[in-house]
Amino acid sequence: MDILGSFSLLLAFLAAVYAMGAGIAGIVTRKTLLTKSARNAGMAVFVLVTLAVACLEYYFFTDNFSMAYVAAHSNRALPFYYKFAALWAGQEGSLLLWTWLLSTYAFFAIFINRNKHPELMPYVGVVLASVQTFFLTLNNFVASPFAVLAGADPSGVMRVSALSDGHGLNPLLQYPEMVIHPPMLYLGYTGFTVPFAFALGALLGRYPGEKWIHITRRWTMIAWCFQSIGILLGAHWAYAVLGWGGYWAWDPVENASLLPWITGTAFLHSVMMQEKRGMMKVWNIWLVFTTFMLCILGTLLTRSGIVSSVHAFAQSSIGNWFVGFLALVFIVCCASYWKNRDYLRSDNQLDSLVSRESSFLFNNLILLAACFAVLWGTLFPVLSEWVVGNKISVGPPFFNKVNIPIALFLLLLTGVGPLLAWRKTSFDALKRNFAWPLSGGVLAGVIALVFGFRDIYSLICLILGVFVTLTIFSEFFRGARVIAGRDGSNLISAVGELTMRNTRRYGGYVVHFGMVLIFIGIAGVPFNKDVQKEMSIGQTLNIGPYSILCQNFDRVQNGNYDSERATLEVFRNGKSEMMLYPERRFFLASQVTETMVAVQSSPLRDLYIVYAGRSPETGQPVIHAYLNPLVKWIWFGGIVVVLGTGLALLSNRRAALVFRPVTEQAWGDRLPARVSPVGAIAQRGDAND
């Protein structure tokens, strides 16, 4: 059992190398047998990597502390769900998780299309196998999770040794979100490999038209959705665990997760240009390439120690491997594009500047500007050190200053784009469509000003948020009114019918609405308040409308940690509202102290309380209270984004004419069933839209 994991991982590497080699040979020689064999090897990689993951999990659950990775990231008292999550707690295990998720995607991409697109799939298989080969090289030869602890016996012979207990899981990771945040983020990162493989495969094989876009649209949306969930869960974890009252610190690794999300968003918009008008083919291909390369860059930043980050794994030479792989991918992409660029000529040209096409162009441009600004800020310290030898910091104020205006402009485009028609929009139509959403936005701004909303960016964000929301609702309303008028149904069922007839479009609007909610939540930041106070039992701390009375301090113990806990009663207008219990936990295995924040969340504001420990000067307990307005909107917006993406992934329901057997009763005897020429409307799913 001890060598099963490393053996299956080695076999997976060989299978991936074979899938790549045989795939290339099959394409060159046009031998179907070779191509099929490569395809099967590609699918076998998934089975073998799954076996390796199962072995590592088994070592965690059986407390096998002779395995170096298990000893470093687990201990006997660790709850079973954290033992499961300990798989991705370190460099080696998280790389294995990456490879496993990648092989899962590759398996399903190959399996689902095994009898389709015979001209395209061999190329796709080769690209997927190549990427898997790289990661399996790392898993096997650079950062193996199956290394064993060894020690010399009295005679000097090296033997496998085992610790009596492990060093424990990093306390920061002992939080429910951390069980799902990294897999979600990795599902996003690895998921972008599928559209990349199809794009590169289509380019290499000169596969006709927009088919690769149709095939990969859902894959891209799935990857994008997971990336969104991963980013938001990470933000929520930072908010709920780190105890600094915020959820986004523009840390290089946070930025690295945002970069492919931004280009992925741009791609999801610009593919519509190619599908509807046959335009932006070069742009789309490069957006997919860039998204994949940014995923690799993100991994490089996390694992190489190039930039200092709270998330970064220990510094190691693994970064050089990623630099080499990134360079290779870039060269292959450039060479493929240069060789086959004729195939990417646009079918149509832009008819008007006031059109859906130009709004997509601007949308893409602004998204890429945001991506560039984040990338620039993240890498500038490295650049500065190279160029002038000075190590400098680029902190949150830089990113906020540069990105807030860009984000607001994007929000504006979110409202403008859907109101513009394809090809050309007349000025009258513009006036008609914009009049009341814009008036609503301005009215909301005036009301906010009257109520003391003085921060300029928050005000603009609110105005644009209302504007975009009204444009979205007007789109639903206009479409539903037509259906309701024609079918005689009520407006609510007409909205449902409308949405299900074009899930992609209306799911997209739901995603936009979710983004508006997230923006509104972020607009609350300038109104954050915080108070820190040394408190003994019976003392009170005041923040906003709340008075917080310290009732007690006690200790809670279990095998994993000792905890010091504050019992606080929260009053509002003299009335007791709730009890809160912020904690400080001392984790025994790792000898590290962490906070457990107590949050009372409402749509208007979060009361966020940190038990910050005892003052070194007085020995008194310190309570740090924050009042963070509108934070809940961010999490709720995230849920709406995910639901909208789910909706957009559904197949369209269309009214279709089908014939059904009708039994007619004749006088005196029974006629056999026959097909009536009278059509009946039935619902059917259409998988291709």
């Binding site: 006031v354 830089f398 940190v610």
Partner: protein, 181 residues
Amino acid sequence: MIRRRVAKDRHLRARVKVLLLAPAALVFVLQSALLSSPAYAQQTERGRELGKRVKCMCGGCNDSATACNHTGGSFSGPCDMAKGMQSEINERVTRNESDDLTLQAFVQEYGPTVLIVPPAKGFNIAAWVTPIVVPLLAIILVWVVVRRWRQKATLATASGPEIPAEFLARARRETGKDYDE
């Protein structure tokens, strides 16, 4: 009649250009306004304000001395390093030292990395200017590309197949509208 239509078209085009350019201008005006004014922070207390301009050197975060909340490089409770840095700032503020002098003292102690954003001097100017210049250049590039596309589109329409006279006559008859031949 034709002159009026041309004038109307020109007027329409001008309005369309304004509509398109206004949002683009908005983003750059906003950005420039931000860069020239320290409007982001709302704290009035000078010590806290200065603390926000100094990076906590605990090595475990990317935050300022005012905002950092970590102990000795791990995340929990008030960071001792940040507290030390903030109290040094407060002492200097109490001694009525200027902001520049205080920041300079920290730069001497920790190097330029202690400043939470790079000062707009020397090579660091590139940090601030590039995120504005590059998107601006991209907008110009897109503008040029779009103009070329539109010219091509116009040429394609002009050189397209002629519409048969009988088809136009039928279209006029059926729609009751006038179409150019």
